[in-house]
Symmetry: C2
DNA sequence: CAGTATCCTTTATGATACTG
DNA sequence: CAGTATCATAAAGGATACTG
């Protein structure tokens, strides 16, 4: 827990005290990285299924190319979100599992997943209304 | 609250029951849209400052182009996250404020913001360690 | 002021072929 | 199996100029 954390986002506080812009920029960068589509999906799959091999992880992620899967897990490994274990056998066997940091991120994202699921229909309805108003 | 929500993401459940793939796809799409960099920043700015005019919103968002700001707020309006009010005066005065749905999304994202702020240093350290290991 | 329209560059992603 | 390397393309984003 950092000293700056308490400020964060609250409801109608409407205060004009800006955050430390350096921290703000870093937070934005980290969120941008971490809120990437495939990162979220890999996070979800590993949360649900535990340790997985490369190919299986790709299958469960659904529709991801080999290139993007490699890229995504590398970034996540670099950020400390998962651990990549290479078993020295042939053919190679590489397994991926979340770190505690990865699990804590999944937990943090849980609220967004729940929100998205809970509000799907409301969003779709809003889109239809908006499109209809624009067309009409 | 939908019936499917309860399943969501939990800790090591390791169950293999897949979610309704149609719902899963929609949730992924909504999250992908909503977890966009500028959407999150606009959400944060409007949460902190309340109703804002176009130009002021852009200033507070920091580094966003007019094009992206227009695009972002239009999408958010379409999704029902904010309300755009055009005052029929000249020069034009257009104000943006979050809807309840928008506030609820900001609240859901709050966990991620807190997480990012709390774990910034850990992530940076992990990246340095990873890069050093790769180089050495 | 609050956009729209256009052009142009960068980035992201996919498909394919190859390797330890 | 688990990648890497390369090429090609699409999508995102920025800069600029213009308008009600």
């Amino acid at each position: 827990m950092t000293a700056t954390q308490a400020r964060s986002v609250t409801h109608p506080a409407y205060d004009d005290q800006p955050v430390d812009p350096k921290v703000e920029a870093l937070v934005t960068e980290v969120i941008g990285r971490v809120a990437d589509k495939w990162t979220m999906i890999v996070l979800e799959v590993l949360t649900e299924h535990g340790e997985l091999r490369f190919t299986r992880l790709g299958q469960l992620a659904g529709g991801i190319s080999q290139k993007m899967l490699t890229q995504t897990v590398r970034q996540m490994e670099r950020d400390g979100l998962l651990i990549r274990t290479v078993h020295p056998v042939v053919p190679p066997r590489v397994e991926y599992k979340l770190t505690d940091l990865g699990f804590s991120l999944a937990e943090a994202f849980c609220g967004v997943w729940v929100w998205a699921e809970a509000n799907l229909e409301r969003i779709e309805a809003s889109r239809h209304a908006f499109d209809a108003a624009k067309a009409g």
